[in-house]
Homo-oligomer: 491 residues x 2
Amino acid sequence: MYLDKENLKDVEILPKDKYPQKGDKACKIRSDIDELIKEVGLKDGDFISFHHHLRNGDKVLVMVMEAIKRANIKDLTLVASSIFPTHESIIPLLEDGTIKNIVASYISGPVGEAISKGKLKGNLIMQSHGGRARAILEDEVKIDVAFIGSPSADENGNISGVNGTNECGSMGYAIADSLKAKKVVAVTDYLADYPNYPADITEDYVDYVLMVESIGLKSGIVSGTTMITKDPIGLKIARDTLTAMIATGLVKDGMSFQTGAGGISLAVADFLRDYMIEKEITGSFASGGITGYLVQMLEEGLFKALYDVQCFDLKAIESLKVNPNHIRMSGSQYGNPHVSNVVDNLDIVILGATEIDTDFNVNVTTGSHGMLMGGSGGHQDTAFGAKATIIVSKLFSSRIPFIKDRVDCITTPGNTVDILVTERGITVNPIRKDFVESFKAAGVETIDIHELKEYAEKVMGKPEKIEKTDRVIGLSQSRDGSILDYIYQVK
Amino acid sequence: MYLDKENLKDVEILPKDKYPQKGDKACKIRSDIDELIKEVGLKDGDFISFHHHLRNGDKVLVMVMEAIKRANIKDLTLVASSIFPTHESIIPLLEDGTIKNIVASYISGPVGEAISKGKLKGNLIMQSHGGRARAILEDEVKIDVAFIGSPSADENGNISGVNGTNECGSMGYAIADSLKAKKVVAVTDYLADYPNYPADITEDYVDYVLMVESIGLKSGIVSGTTMITKDPIGLKIARDTLTAMIATGLVKDGMSFQTGAGGISLAVADFLRDYMIEKEITGSFASGGITGYLVQMLEEGLFKALYDVQCFDLKAIESLKVNPNHIRMSGSQYGNPHVSNVVDNLDIVILGATEIDTDFNVNVTTGSHGMLMGGSGGHQDTAFGAKATIIVSKLFSSRIPFIKDRVDCITTPGNTVDILVTERGITVNPIRKDFVESFKAAGVETIDIHELKEYAEKVMGKPEKIEKTDRVIGLSQSRDGSILDYIYQVK
């Protein structure tokens, strides 16, 4: 920059014949995936990344991994925000060493089972959504090539999740990858006219546009769980959850709210909606993975805005396309613990759990017999950020006991979990003395977590200890980078 | 990340008593500017940055510099995207060494004169808008603290240029600063409810929100030059420019276009509008600093979209607020030469010039007697990117001769300048053989640049050589980082 130079006359002036020449810009479009793998310079030991906005309809991850396999590149670290049943065919690539390590926020289906059975040669790191963004932005996870499944891209790489034939809506989990990866490849089946907008990722962050026949099956993009429960037990839990929410004192004008896409969580949103209409309460924002139920509440004026990091259904995608109060956010803006983020502004979050223990630690990572079947996603992030973190679950529904002395794997630390609602009623974490008091004052009955556990054991019998091997195959990482728990190989 | 660890069992698990505690987030709001200067840890030799979206109405730069002066911090490098007459009162801070170096893209008014007279102890670097974004993103210019004048911010630092009482519209030139500065301060006079949207800069990039009484005078935010010329000579030039544009073959469906806010440039847009309506031509996008004239063309369907890096008038701000086809872009997306950018997609750009030489080099940096009175802004960037770069100017209007053997300071290299239109007609750069041919084929007369110079000299007399000192006070930087020319101290 020559700012410290004493005599600027010594600086060499670019001669006329060295001026950069005006000319045609390089074409980014590629159509041969095998050629592209060579061109990006992918090599043994590299880190490659994928997002999961195409969910169980995604064809991009498998397509790229198969090309990498054909190129005989080994020992890759697969940084996939989530892995779904549709990705089953990468299992042989774990076994043959194409994929050595996996870093993910959620893994369900056969790939999870294969990892649990020890098929990964290297290690597994399970992160939260916010933790993933943090790790990438802080260079803890350095991505060599990001393959970004794109519902549409123009010739310069402006990517939009709301244009094209296989729209997925917000692409919040791909933003950190696009900012930091050495090479960014937009993989698309829809070449849009320039400029393609609204862009989730703009051309200045994209190196290649790889045209493929299909990035996914739209039917699989939409989550299968976005329906309000009709089960009377689920509805009772949802009703009690509204009671608990009101007792926290947080249900009032300006409130912010997040809920998942599970049947009980959606029922909570529905009961909250009725209550807000009745009491004429206007909230500030709702956030997270967005469903049509939250869109309806936005349209009814119950919330001023939606913060959308991923769309769970078509109604959410449609709303994102047309409603200026439906705002995209990146995974970092959503939940990166080392920056100011949206989850820190949440009043109430409703979350599910596979298991909970008497310290209120929650496991959503492993299931029956310790098998990988999920992961934090935004669980850890929202639990930490929200003023009231409420877990909703049936005591008796899955094959494994719900309440334990110690969960099989800590996904979300108990000190961030405030309230549990089951069909047996409301349980308050005793470290939340404020809630213990306000519930008492409101005349809301609560049940101690140890009593709840005893009751469950009376009905179900004492849980058998999960039989696992001694081999640790992975780690459950805290959003800030520290390690919360081991993940063991199953027997 | 423990990915290379052989035995994960050796990894230490965070004990329960070390779990990060859920709690209130730190408050970002500050109201005492002097306390804030201490708190951000600003020290001698640091780099501080400002944007110019408040233009000649900006009060933020002076306010912050005065506080820095009170804190007795010295030898700062001022990275200001532009400096206007309203910033006059920082001149004593050049003299007393508070400000040592200046990096800017445009300087007009008394500060420019003071620098030209040698009042800066260190050096001046003049960059293009795209070059500034490149330099910041590539760590060539490392900003310690970015002070971002913000028409509105919420308590978490979501900044929006279209909310508040002193709106400026798009904040494209502040984006690189927000991404890279070690500390980011939103300086605002309007505290918006959370969430403040649409956000030009989101909370994850902002460390402090400094509340001040006023960030600026709205009357000064709007450029004073955004009116179509009424002068018959200017209108003749504009008409000939349309003829030249048509002769390039680029005025057709899908065309993209940029023009400045000068009176002749706006007249060109107006003639183009009539022509597009008449011939039923629909363009792709228009870009740049956006005026109401381009907004009108967007609303009439003559362009599909506007790419807006800064708003020049209130109509542009209003449009950005409500029209989804009016898109924000960052300075990097606009013109960073090391990434894919919007200017590379331009068909035609209309630009002004203070001087041009027989190599078609353009000077918009220095004026009469070599005095600093402008700078590249987007001149260099768009000239490089556009397929046809057209300079429009009167031969005889300013106090200095327009055509020279060699311009006083090269702002934009002649090999990127294609066509010149003056009241004497159309001149084509002979290196653009394609245009020479197409103009001939279209029957459009052109005049050689040497002939044009001779004609001008016949009327005006031969230009006197500018008398300057031997001391180089600054450098005119090419957008890619190389140096195009010296800037001398004036006599």
